[in-house]
């Protein structure tokens, strides 16, 4: 059993070339498409959020299973732990938004004479915005660090106290996350369309995050297994990950539909004003997102066999990851760039650059610790995992 993952040259080159292609496309795109400041900042925000969500989900995955007293996931704990290592970088990237505030967030302008925005000013103001941002990251990074540290400590010490401490930390993280995931999505996404509001929004974003995270973990499992690691991860684990991807794609659709149905039905302009430009100016993308994120995984993963086939599952995961990137794109674009926005070289370049960076951080952090945890009292259940 290979204890530690080593980042191979080939992989490094691969990652570097992804990032390199990203930079190249960006430069090309900058000259060909001559994007304006808004477009650049919007791209920064989109990718910031996207990779932040995946990283943050690492913590959610760990905490959720810990408090649910699950045993089966123990063997693949290190992967979500590695995801959380991207969080500090996300934090830095998010704080960069400070320089693009006016391009992204209409409400950040002074003297708008908009009575509705004036009413929200107590919440939507730049200092408080960044104070909240700092608070969120502090909590997330701190708690995920402690969660990870706890398992590392456990590796060295079979004492059950780490198990108990892990549960407390997980509960703390979940509580913190439950509140901040909503406020974070209001702050960073919903406030782009500053007049619009939807109580469901935070939960909708959370489920999107869930799907992305699961898809990423699936891909990492596939990657590591292809590299010859994780042989103790069997079909049942894969099946469960497949079920997650399947179920949460449906759940994502459920929330999307709940929100859309209610707004479509009541037809109150304050709310429909959000969907009107998305439907009219981005019609194709609007429906593409639904097809990729729901219909495709729904049909592709319906049978038992499809969920147990890692290759197929990885393919679905890639498609779904693209779908959710598009979803975030759809959330951000109409309120920032407007109806002329198009996915071009700049968008792909930014995404590739971020992807490269993200992969490097995650894979590098995987090399730091053994791929398998030790001393977890439930680890044995994970090895003997069957239906």
């Amino acid at each position: 059993m290979e204890d530690k993952y080593t980042l191979k040259r080939k992989t490094q080159y691969g990652i570097l070339s992804i990032a390199g292609v990203g930079i190249l496309l960006l430069i090309l795109g900058y000259f060909i498409e001559s994007p304006n400041r808004q477009e650049l900042w919007a791209n920064v925000l989109i990718n910031n959020l996207y990779f932040l969500f995946i990283a943050l989900f690492g913590g959610v995955f760990l905490a959720l299973h810990k408090i649910a007293y699950a045993g089966w996931y123990t063997a693949l704990k290190r992967i979500p732990e590695a995801l959380t290592k991207f969080l500090p970088i996300s934090a830095v990237l998010m704080f960069l938004i400070y320089f693009g505030m006016h391009d992204l967030y209409h409400w950040s302008h002074e003297g708008l004479h908009d009575p509705i925005l004036e009413g929200k000013a107590a919440y939507l103001n730049v200092p408080f915005f960044f104070a909240r941002m700092a608070f969120y990251f502090l909590g997330w990074i701190g708690l995920t660090y402690l969660l990870r540290k706890n398992t590392l400590d456990q590796d060295l010490n079979p004492d059950l106290k780490y198990h108990k401490r892990g549960k407390i930390l997980a509960a703390l993280f979940m509580v913190f996350f439950a509140i901040t995931s909503s406020t974070m999505s209001w702050d960073w996404i919903m406030s782009i369309d500053a007049h619009w509001f939807s109580t469901l929004f935070g939960w909708f974003i959370f489920i999107g995050m869930f799907v992305c995270g699961i898809a990423t973990i699936i891909l990492l499992i596939a990657f590591l297994k292809a590299q010859g690691y994780l042989e103790y991860i069997n079909k049942e684990h894969i099946h469960d990950m497949g079920k997650y991807l399947f179920a949460f794609s449906i759940f994502w659709m459920y929330l999307w539909f709940s929100q859309y149905l209610l707004i479509w039905y009541s037809h109150i302009p304050e709310e429909t004003a959000y969907f009107a430009p998305r439907l009219k100016d981005h019609t194709v993308l609007f429906f593409t997102v639904l097809i990729i994120n729901f219909l495709f995984p729904f049909l592709a993963l319906m049978t038992r066999d499809s969920k147990r086939n890692l290759k197929w599952l990885s393919f679905v995961a890639i498609i779904v990851l693209i779908g959710h990137w598009l979803n975030i794109y759809m959330l951000v674009i109409p309120g920032t760039i407007g109806n002329e926005a198009q996915i071009g070289l700049v968008e792909i370049g930014f995404a590739a650059l971020y992807l490269g960076g993200f992969l490097y951080v995650v894979l590098a952090s995987l090399t730091k610790t053994p791929l398998l945890v030790k001393n977890d009292p439930l680890l044995k259940e994970s090895f003997h995992y069957e239906t």
């Binding site: 037809h267 109150i268 304050e270 429909t272």
Partner: protein, 990 residues
């Protein structure tokens, strides 16, 4: 044995043989002959009538009540002329009850009057109506009406009665004993002629006129100042500035229907006209008029005289005349005086006081302001109130003294509404021969020995001269339902003349009015045309001499200046909008009509100012004892002047049908004189609680843009003032707006015209068979009104601004209610109407919950007997008995228990209009279709039309900058819209 008709001629012949009376309206009578006592026709004839006319079961019961055998319903065998089943016939007529007058059209269906509409041809009422006029049709079917002549409550035949009366009158005549004919004000020329004839026959008869609401001060003051007894013709439409001292001219003072029209006309704004009158009201109780005023100054009743004197003084000052230095003038009065002065000749000062001195000052002020001939005219003097108070006082003295040996009473109820009613009752009992000529029993008639019951006005012929030279005819819409006879016919028969009053009127008109015109070549065409139009308004110019000729003003002012200021609580007794003097108290529609200001129905109550209430630690619903005489529930009325209270009269009827009996409290005993108010009232909290039936319990708009309003000054600068917050969300829609290719019916309500009188709501109730639920259910917020008038107070609690807003179904094109009905019982028509399919409705009330306007009404109980479950009827007002069901509009389904109902924009009228147009092969003309509320509205605030017709009046109004939709931010796309209310608040000088 059955006997069938062979031809229409035979039918006519038979008809003639039954009655010699001329046929006013063809075959109507044929049907109604069944109600006549079997005088001429044989029994089998009557049966044939029934078979022919095919009345429903409803009639059968009426028949039964007339002791006829129950008949089966049989359809028309031979259709009578004029009556087409399914088509309404309209007859021009007049409504007159005491001083209430209105020119009307009677809408009949298969011979039944079912609805009253205003007569547009009258220049007096201009097609407007009031709630009482609208409700009067129900009185026709009142079960409490007299059904036969009575002697000591025993039925007798008319012949017997006539013989007895003639004998008695002759006896008294021979003995030269005083006989008194007591009537309300009579302004019917023919009736006056009949009475004169009667007096000529019996010279011992003294004619006394008595009005429950006396305007004798006006009449007398006019006589004292100008030598002309009577009431001037007020022209609110000529007044740029109106100052009213407690005159509720939009509510109950003199001729509100006429005044509302004038008032609204002067205040109607359009893109072309941005000027409107300014209205200042000084009053103690927040009246309907006060609630419409641009500036309202709460004052105690006792202070008004002094303020008027000050005003007069200031005006004299401005006129450069001698002034009375004894008076210190308040700032308000100085400003008002200046404003009035700057509109000299175009201003109007009125007072509701019945104090001659006050009216003298008012006349003097108007004279100084040169308003006579402009806003006050004499050539068309108002005639509806003629009674002089002292006459009644004298009569009572005479009665007490035993001088009066016989009393004939018609249209009056002094035992109930005279302030010395108890004394009158005692005196009445002493009179040997008393005969009541009323249609319904009341406190007075019940004490009288004989009853010669009058017809209901919808069964009567008459003529009226409400204003000098403005004549209006009354014609029946139905033959008498019961064995009754018109008052005039009774008098005629008692002097041995032909009792046919119609003949009498015709003769009178041929002699007196026919020569006043030259349009028609002969009397027959003149008569027929006039009868069809209902009004005769000859062009006569009679210049009045308006020389002010009264020297006693100085003394009055001196006296006023000396009077000490009153410190106590002052009580004012007023007439309520719905019930008036109480004559129509048995009308459930009126009882259930909420007061425009307090929104309370089914009761009178003591209005008390918020400050006084908090001082006395009282709140709405507390029962207080007033002067240890009557117990009344308190209603804290914002705007009521401090240290004053007010209560409506007309309530607490004792001898009345089941509806009005014991509703509220009779407050006449509080009076000790007939002056305007009662001083030093003592209020004692009893600790009891009383539930008042309020249709609106929250009075603030909570800062929401529901009634949008602006000041005239802002409006002049920006026509969209107050209406800025338009939610332009054209691009926000995620599906297409529905399209209506042919018609798109809509309605607009001008909030600047609406005075809140409530005529529309009663008209709607009559038109749409809206059930009456009773007080208990109103308390439980179960009232059924399809159109309600929301009343909001804003600003200062002690003197609030008042806004009225009629709210009916808004007929949203994006209707939230339609979406949610599980069974599709409510859907949208292709002409933009929000429809209800009653028989599809299962009553989930989901639509009602989802209606942001809360206009949907649910049938909480079996109010209408349309339910198939037995023994669950919930009918407090006998509305489901067969007689009263005759008032139902057959075009509108009666709704069963458990279904939702709501305004349909009078879809039956739309359908009728469309069919009429179709028969004629043309498009529906603008204005051709009128909803019931629009038709009834005296101010013309409601306009119905086709939103697709760009030339229509409706579209002209809706394209105004003042136009807005209620709650347009939720994108319901209503077809009903509103025009902002504009207040003319800016005073030039104060």
């Amino acid at each position: 044995m059955k006997k069938y008709w062979k031809s229409l001629t035979e039918l006519k012949n038979k008809e003639n043989s039954i009655s010699d009376q001329p046929m006013p309206k063809g075959n109507l009578e044929q049907i109604l002959d069944i109600f006549d006592k079997n005088e001429n026709g044989s029994k089998s004839n009557r049966r044939d009538f029934l078979k022919l006319c095919g009345y429903s079961l409803a009639i059968s019961t009426v028949v039964a009540s007339c002791e006829n055998s129950v008949q089966k319903a049989i359809p028309y065998l031979i259709k009578p002329e004029e009556i087409t089943p399914g088509k309404a016939n309209y007859y021009a007529s007049s409504f007159a009850k005491g001083s209430d007058f209105c020119s009307i059209l009677i809408k009949t269906r298969v011979g039944r009057p079912i609805k009253i509409e205003g007569n547009d041809l009258s220049t007096v009422t201009n097609g407007g109506t009031s709630s009482r006029v609208q409700a009067s049709v129900l009185d026709l079917y009142d079960t409490s009406r007299y059904k036969n002549p009575l002697k000591e409550n025993e039925k007798l035949l008319w012949e017997e009665l006539d013989e007895f009366v003639r004998k008695e009158l002759n006896r008294l005549k021979n003995a030269n004993e005083e006989v008194v004919l007591l009537t309300s004000s009579v302004y019917s020329p023919s009736t006056i002629s009949v009475i004169q004839k009667f007096i000529a026959q019996y010279p011992n008869v003294k004619w006394v006129q008595y009005d429950s609401q006396s305007y004798s001060a006006l009449i007398q003051a006019s006589k004292m100042c100008f030598g002309k007894a009577g009431i001037a013709d007020y022209r609110f439409d000529y007044a740029d500035i109106i100052v009213s001292f407690d005159a509720d001219f939009l509510g109950t003072w003199l001729m509100p229907v006429e005044y509302i029209r004038q008032y609204a006309k002067k205040r109607k704004l359009s893109d072309g006209n941005t000027s409107m009158s300014q209205h200042i009201q000084l009053e103690s109780r927040l009246s309907l008029t006060g609630s419409n005023a641009d500036k309202r100054i709460p004052v105690k009743p006792s202070e008004q005289r002094l303020l008027l004197a000050q005003l007069y003084n200031e005006i004299l000052k401005l006129a450069g005349k001698d002034t009375y230095t004894v008076l210190n003038t308040s700032g308000d009065m100085q400003g008002i005086a200046k404003d009035l002065w700057s509109h000299k000749g175009k201003s109007l000062v009125v007072s509701g006081s019945n104090d001659v001195n006050v009216q003298l000052i008012v006349n003097a002020i108007n004279y100084e302001l040169e308003n006579y001939g402009s806003t006050l005219r004499f050539e068309k003097q108002l005639q509806t109130s003629k009674a002089i108070e002292s006459d009644m006082k004298n009569l009572l003295e005479d009665m007490k003294a035993g001088k009066v040996k016989a009393l004939l009473a018609y249209g009056v109820n002094p035992v109930f509404d005279y302030y010395k009613g108890d004394e009158f009752a005692l005196a009445l009992k002493k009179i040997g021969f008393t005969i009541a000529l009323d249609e319904v029993p009341n406190e007075t008639t019940s004490l009288m020995k004989f009853v010669a019951p009058d017809n209901h006005y919808l069964e009567s012929w008459n003529d009226f001269e409400p204003k000098a030279n403005r004549y209006s005819l009354m014609q029946p819409g139905i033959r008498p339902l019961f064995n009754t006879r018109q008052f005039q016919s009774s008098l005629l028969s008692w002097i041995g003349e032909d009792p046919d009053y119609l003949k009498f009127i015709k003769a009178y008109w041929e002699k007196n009015f026919y020569p006043m015109q030259n349009t028609y070549p002969n009397f027959v065409t003149y008569w027929n045309n006039t009868l069809q139009q209902g009004v005769f308004e000859p062009n006569l110019k009679s210049v009045s001499d308006t020389k002010f000729n009264y020297g006693g003003i100085n003394n009055i002012l001196d006296e006023l200046a000396k009077q000490p200021k009153s410190k106590g609580i002052e009580l004012q007794v007023y007439e309520s909008i719905a019930i008036g003097d109480g004559k129509m108290a048995n009308n459930p529609w009126l009882q259930e009509m909420p007061d425009p200001i307090s929104k309370i129905c089914w009761d009178n109550y003591l209005c008390i100012s918020p400050k006084l209430a908090s001082e006395l630690m009282m709140e709405t619903g507390d029962v207080v004892e007033v002067n240890s005489k009557v117990k009344l529930p308190v209603y804290v009325l914002p705007g009521q002047a401090y240290n004053t209270v007010a209560v409506a009269k007309g309530y607490g009827r004792q001898v009345c049908g089941i509806v009005g009996k014991n509703v509220g409290v009779n407050v006449n005993s509080l009076h000790n004189s007939s002056v305007d108010f009662i001083d030093n009232v003592n209020l004692i909290k009893t600790g009891e609680k009383y539930d008042l039936a309020m249709t609106q319990t929250h009075h603030s708009m909570e800062g929401r843009a529901i009634v949008r309003e602006a000041d005239l000054e802002e409006y002049k600068k920006n026509p969209a003032a107050g209406n800025e917050s338009h939610h332009a969300y054209e691009n926000a829609s995620i599906y297409e707006k529905p399209k209506f290719p042919n018609h798109h019916w809509g309605l607009v309500v001008d909030l600047n015209s609406c005075v809140g009188c409530g005529a529309c709501s009663i008209a709607c109730q009559a038109e749409n068979n809206v059930p009456v639920v009773g007080k208990k259910e109103v308390i439980r917020a179960h009232e059924m009104s399809w159109i309600r008038i929301d009343r909001y107070f804003s600003g200062d609690e002690f003197n609030p601004d008042v806004s009225f807003q009629p709210v009916m179904c808004q007929h949203c094109d994006n209707a939230p209610c339609e979406n949610v009905c599980p069974v599709a019982a409510t859907s949208h028509s292709s002409e933009g109407l929000n429809q209800m399919a009653y028989n599809r409705c299962i009553g989930t009330r989901y639509c009602g919950n989802n209606c942001p306007y809360k206009v949907r009404r649910f049938n909480w109980f079996d109010f209408t007997k349309a339910d198939s479950i037995p023994n669950n009827l919930h009918d407090v007002a006998e509305m489901t008995i067969d007689l009263k069901r005759m008032v139902l509009n057959p075009d509108v389904t009666v709704r069963a228990k458990g279904v939702i109902e709501k305004c349909s924009l009078c879809v039956q009228r739309i359908q009728e209009g469309k069919l009429n147009a179709k028969i004629k092969g043309r498009k529906v003309k603008d204005g051709e279709i009128k909803t019931a509320c629009e038709q009834a509205c005296p101010s013309g605030a409601i306009i119905f039309g086709d939103l697709n017709d760009k030339e229509s009046k409706l579209v002209k109004e809706t394209s105004s900058k003042r136009n807005y939709h209620l709650l347009e931010e939720i994108h319901t796309l209503p077809s009903v819209s509103y025009l902002t209310k504009i207040r003319n608040k800016k005073m030039n000088h104060s």
